[in-house]
Symmetry: C2
Subunit: 335 residues, 2 copies
DNA sequence: CTGAAAGCGCTTACAG
DNA sequence: CTGAAAGCGCTTACAG
């Protein structure tokens, strides 16, 4: 039963009294093998404790059964949700996931990309770091390895993209705040170099224009995507001469920090100050008051990216796709 | 610059005017290569757009640069934290992580283990599903592939284990509740088949015995590890004739559900009913009132497991280790 | 279904 | 450092 030395397919074949080619067909689940032969081989595999070497098989057949996934930061539940969606979908089609996290570092991303290419992944799902170059993407594509960009576009890169309508999301959020009577609305947090920030800001602008409200640039402050940054930014914005009556946060993580600090200051979100987040992470509903936010359907987004990548790997040659999910305003208690 | 066909090491060698063996030494960073030769080869690699094929190299040299990681559920921040710790540590030593999630399904775990073995991982970190058999572990070990068990022991399996002192954790939690004057303390949630549940329950028992309080079996209800389960269980336990005045939750996820429901019922955790959780997930501090809990140092636990696995892979042959982290009571606002 | 041969891209081992 | 050969474990292609 237990076997200490490495068992190869040839040994299995000998044990079963068939040829190596036949054994190979059996492990790959070929149709043109008689039931009797299949059973003989499977029994030998059991008896010898044989493990199929997918790595060797991939080398010979020039195929791959792995997919690289590069995201920013597991600590943000938004990415966990994304990962869940991707992982579920990819596992369904027999792909194994190689994981990498960049923590927003360009160098880390470069290193991860190299590592994954060296491991001969069949494709890559990339949540790109700010400042990513389209040349890098194009180069990978030119090697025949499909790339699906997730959440953030890379300007100039002509490849598949799955993301959401951030402009619309920003607009929905700010429309709602305006409709609730707010006129001075801050936009807090997030790095302004990335497209999703720019797009949400665009939505913020659009909503103001539509309502005929002038934008006060001092109400827009960027920052890293952490709770700490939220804590910091809300203090900063409340110190200005004419502070905002409501805040649109770049995402829920920022909103978490903002709310923590507000409660500490004795202010009640939703009563004393309006707040809208972005992403609808599971935590949003656990806060009190519950966070009003824009859902970005992270799991679905992940699943879509996985499906798209899988189609590419299967060689369905179509034009680069752009899948843009529509955001949804989830009104809860903070506005 | 850009290259459409697969470039091999032999082509690089020819381009650089050296032998294949020399080129191989360069890509592996060997010391006994002159600086001039190294530069020539590196230039050719650049010019041709060569990608080192780690898969082929691993096949030939019978080594591996990947590690398999099997956990339950990414949606629980406890596992995200674990993953962060593991991932950071493993990346440091040049290992690539292959990820799998079981969602508590034995079959899924079996499938993931097979897949990882077929991918020739150098080792496996396993957060074992309830009901895992020690034979399976022993078999993998017998193939020379180290396994580190994380968080949950598998009875009978003689291999490395990194976890925490759950008995002590349970005891700390319940000691604290007793010291705060509670006498009827519920233990809610978690699957009783897994060792960590049994150990926390043991701690619960110990604290009661130490204080000379009888245990009322009707105060202990198990259940799945979800917020929904927390919501359900707190309702159930408050309906009994003589309800508890405090609750020790199997973990913070359960506590989250419990607190949500209590607040909905108009009860204030910490004032009307005492609550202690387990794990100290980042959310614990974001709740209001903030959750008193037992920290299980997830990131550290992950890092320790990764280091241990790495040592094993390096072939440091020592007795199977048991690393048991000490839990810590974090007193906040719910008790 | 079998059998013998070649090859995937690399490393190993060795004589020079 | 070079060069030629063998081999890691598999698949491919083909004649039988």
């Amino acid at each position: 039963m237990t076997q200490h030395k490495h068992v190869t397919l040839l040994q299995v074949a000998k044990h079963a009294g068939v040829s190596r080619a036949t054994a190979s067909l059996v492990v790959r689940g070929s149709k043109n093998i008689s039931e009797a032969t299949r059973e003989k081989v499977l029994k030998s595999i059991q008896d010898l404790g044989y493990i199929y070497d997918r790595v060797a098989a991939n080398l010979r057949s020039k195929s791959s059964s792995t997919v690289g996934l590069i995201i920013m930061d597991l600590a943000n539940p938004f990415y966990s949700e994304l990962l869940i969606g991707i992982h579920q979908e990819l596992t369904k089609c027999g792909q194994t996931v190689i994981l990498g996290t960049t923590f927003n570092s360009y160098d880390t991303q470069s290193r991860l990309l190299s590592t994954m290419l060296e491991h001969r992944v069949g494709g890559i799902i990339l949540f790109a770091v700010p400042g990513s170059k389209s040349e890098v993407i194009e180069q990978i594509l030119s090697w025949g390895i499909p790339v699906v960009l997730l959440g953030r576009k890379v300007p100039g890169a002509n490849c598949d993209y799955v993301g959401m309508d951030n402009v619309m999301g920003g607009q929905l959020a700010v429309d709602h705040l305006i409709q609730k009577g707010h006129r001075r609305i801050a936009f807090l947090g997030g790095p302004s170099q990335i497209t999703s920030w720019q797009e949400r800001k665009q939505g913020y602008d659009n909503a103001h224009h539509k309502a005929g409200i002038n934008i006060d640039a001092s109400l827009v402050i960027e920052g890293p995507v952490t709770r700490e940054s939220g804590v910091e930014l809300i203090q900063q914005i409340l110190r200005i001469p004419d502070p905002p009556t409501a805040v649109f946060c770049y995402n829920d993580i920022i909103a978490l920090g903002v709310m923590m600090k507000l409660k500490e200051m004795g202010l009640v979100p939703g009563r004393d100050i309006g707040i809208v987040g972005f992403d609808d992470i599971p935590e949003a509903v656990m806060l009190s008051p519950k966070l009003t936010t824009i859902s970005s359907f992270a799991r679905l987004m992940g699943a879509r990216a996985a499906t798209l990548l899988h189609e590419r790997i299967e060689g369905l040659s179509m034009e680069p796709q752009r899948i843009i999910l529509q955001p949804k305003l989830i009104v809860r208690e903070t506005c």
